[in-house]
């Protein structure tokens, strides 16, 4: 197919593909799946953090958390829009999310049990997300790349804010320090797993790299994250919950112990602590909000009908 060849030539030349351009069906499908998953992750990601909005320990932190969760809603919105340019409606994507067909980042299937988890999500989860997302700013698909530029800016603010919150805990009372360490113990490994399976086991990687949707392998990104994060933990006196962690002087990298891939698979397959609660919460929002969306639609239709009557008169 000459069109495919031209498409690949454009990719190789680092040109951006736009919605109305020709693209192979596989490219479109891969992108829709990835962008929708990414959007879903933002939406589901509102829940564990939203869980502490009403209980934030100071007004300053409450406002910051609310603003952060709001930003996530905004990211979800851009991303759904980007996916819609590829011909899939938001409603369809939402349906797939609540009936369990669509995936989202497994990290959000862990519960926020203490206030420290809010800082920890900012520091680790947003930190890991950024590692994934910065290269996506150069993604070959235009709308996705542009959404990513805006998102990355905000995520990086969230990440710094999260680290600052954990720093505050570490500089606080012994109880606060304990909250921080306990939270790191619970979130460290799930964050490491956010980068997905090792390169050898990754299903979609090779194609995505060729299409310049992806720029780095899972393991490369994971290592970047570890190298950035371990020194941050040490700086504020936190211990990484990994007895095998060691610094390799030769490579200049931190090397971690064995990842529990069984846990990864279990959470991905629906067996995480919060999978059921997360989907149930979104489902309830969808169902309880149906009459509102219906009303908005009915009103818009009535209004349009009235306007055309006026024009006709």
């Amino acid at each position: 197919d000459p069109r495919e060849a031209r498409f690949m030539a454009r990719i190789d030349a680092e040109e951006r593909i736009e919605p109305n351009d020709f693209m192979p069906e596989g490219y479109r499908k891969t992108l829709v799946r990835q962008i929708a998953q990414h959007a879903h992750s933002e939406i589901i990601g509102m829940l564990p953090e939203g869980n502490w909005i009403t209980r934030a320990p100071s007004l300053r932190r409450k406002a910051a958390l609310l603003a952060k969760v709001q930003d996530e809603g905004g990211h979800g919105l851009y991303l759904y829009c980007a996916a819609e340019t590829l011909g899939k409606s938001r409603e369809e994507m939402m349906d797939e999310l609540v009936d369990g067909r669509a995936k989202y980042s497994s990290i959000f299937n862990y519960p926020t049990l203490t206030w420290a988890d809010i800082g920890m999500i900012g520091w680790l989860v947003d930190g890991a997300a950024i590692m994934n997302q910065i290269p996506l700013c150069r993604c070959s698909f235009g709308p996705y790349a542009r959404a990513m530029i805006r998102i990355c800016k905000e995520e990086s603010f969230h990440q710094r804010q999260g680290y600052e919150q954990i720093m505050t805990l570490c500089a606080g009372t012994p109880e606060q320090k304990e909250l921080a360490q306990d939270s790191l113990n619970r979130w460290w490994w799930p964050s490491i797993m956010m980068f997905g399976p090792s390169d050898g086991d990754s299903v979609h990687s090779a194609k995505s790299m060729a299409w310049k949707i992806k720029r780095f392998t899972n393991d490369e990104l994971r290592q970047k994250f570890i190298d950035a994060t371990v020194p941050q933990a040490h700086r504020i006196g936190l211990e990484i919950p990994d007895p095998d962690l060691k610094f390799n002087e030769e490579t200049g990298h931190w090397e971690i112990g064995e990842i529990d891939w069984e846990e990864f698979k279990r959470v991905l397959a629906g067996g995480g602590p919060c999978n059921a609660d997360r989907v149930a919460a979104r489902k309830a929002a969808q169902e309880n909000g149906a009459w509102v969306r219906d009303a908005a639609l009915a009103y818009a239709q009535k209004r349009a009908a009235r306007e055309s009557e006026t024009l006709a008169a």
């Binding site: 939406i43 509102m46 829940l47 939203g50 909005i53 009403t54 209980r55 934030a56 320990p57 100071s58 007004l59 300053r60 932190r61 409450k62 406002a63 609310l66 603003a67 969760v69 709001q70 809603g73 905004g74 979800g76 919105l77 759904y80 206030w115 919150q165 505050t168 805990l169 606080g172 009372t173 109880e175 606060q176 919460a281 309830a284 929002a285 309880n288 909000g289 149906a290 009459w291 509102v292 969306r293 219906d294 009303a295 908005a296 639609l297 009915a298 009103y299 818009a300 009535k302």
Partner: protein
């Protein structure tokens, strides 16, 4: 660090707390929607409005702390007073209910707040005047947002209309309190620190009447108005709000977050 009891706060302090508590509690209620709204746009819009209210509350508490002396901070007011010490009007603590309840509550409150902030821009307390100037702009958006939704719901489907009507009937009894003047407010109005809420009643009524007229709904017949919040006599809902709101500060007293 235990519960903060303000015995006979000065009228100026009480006025600041009434305004601040209105904003904090309404912001808190709105924030409960985050992640659960009927559509993503509303998750964002309601969080936005909540942030405006919480922001106004913070500035007002700050001014209260400054006036109060004793080294208190905004968080002392929010996190250390029990329900009887909170001075918000009852309207803002009513549960979110369905989306119609939330929208009607917001319209009823914001239609009052907008002109009230406007007159408060002339407060002789320069800090209040400055907060009012900022909040007035925000309230304009709040009225537009809730007014637009009021129209959609009131003139949408049969179900949305029924729900909107029910919300109006349930919340209307809490509107009288917005315009009450008592011994706390009287001297402040005279001094020009506070404004007389009765002076904005006609504007409020006009906003509401316009919204109603556009939908064909009418002012519900309510034989009795509720009151009490301004003197800490609340509904049973506030206590549960505070149990969540204050948990961390109560469980880990004296810590900095």
């Amino acid at each position: 660090m235990t519960t903060l009891t303000l015995t006979a706060p000065s009228p100026h302090l009480a006025f600041l707390l009434r305004l601040a508590d209105d904003n904090l509690i309404l912001g808190h209620r709105l924030s409960e929607w985050t992640g659960h709204a009927p559509m993503l746009e509303e998750d964002i819009a309601l969080a936005n409005i909540a942030l405006d209210h919480i922001g106004a509350a913070r500035s007002l508490y700050d001014r209260a702390a400054e006036l109060h002396g004793e080294g208190l901070t905004e968080d002392d007011y929010a996190y250390r007073r029990d329900a009887r010490g909170y001075l918000n009007c009852l309207l803002v603590e009513r549960p979110n209910g369905d989306f119609a309840h939330t929208i009607v509550r917001q319209l009823l409150y914001s239609a009052f707040a907008l002109p009230y902030w406007a007159v408060l821009t002339a407060s002789t307390d320069a800090t209040i005047a400055a907060i009012a100037a900022k909040s007035e702009k925000e309230a304009r958006y709040h009225v537009r947002h809730s007014g637009d939704w009021f129209l959609r719901l009131g003139d949408g489907t049969d179900e949305s209309r029924t729900r909107t009507e029910a919300a109006l009937a349930a919340l209307w009894p809490y509107t009288g309190e917005l315009f009450e003047v008592d011994a706390t407010l009287e001297p402040l109005i005279a001094e020009g620190v506070a404004a007389d809420p009765r002076s904005v009643h006609a504007v409020w009524q006009q906003t509401i009447d316009q919204a109603l007229a556009a939908t064909g709904l009418t002012v519900p017949e309510v034989p009795f108005m509720q009151t009490g919040g301004r003197t800490g006599y609340h509904t049973e809902h506030l206590g549960f709000i505070l149990a969540d709101l204050q948990f961390m500060q109560r469980a880990y007293p004296g810590a900095t977050w």
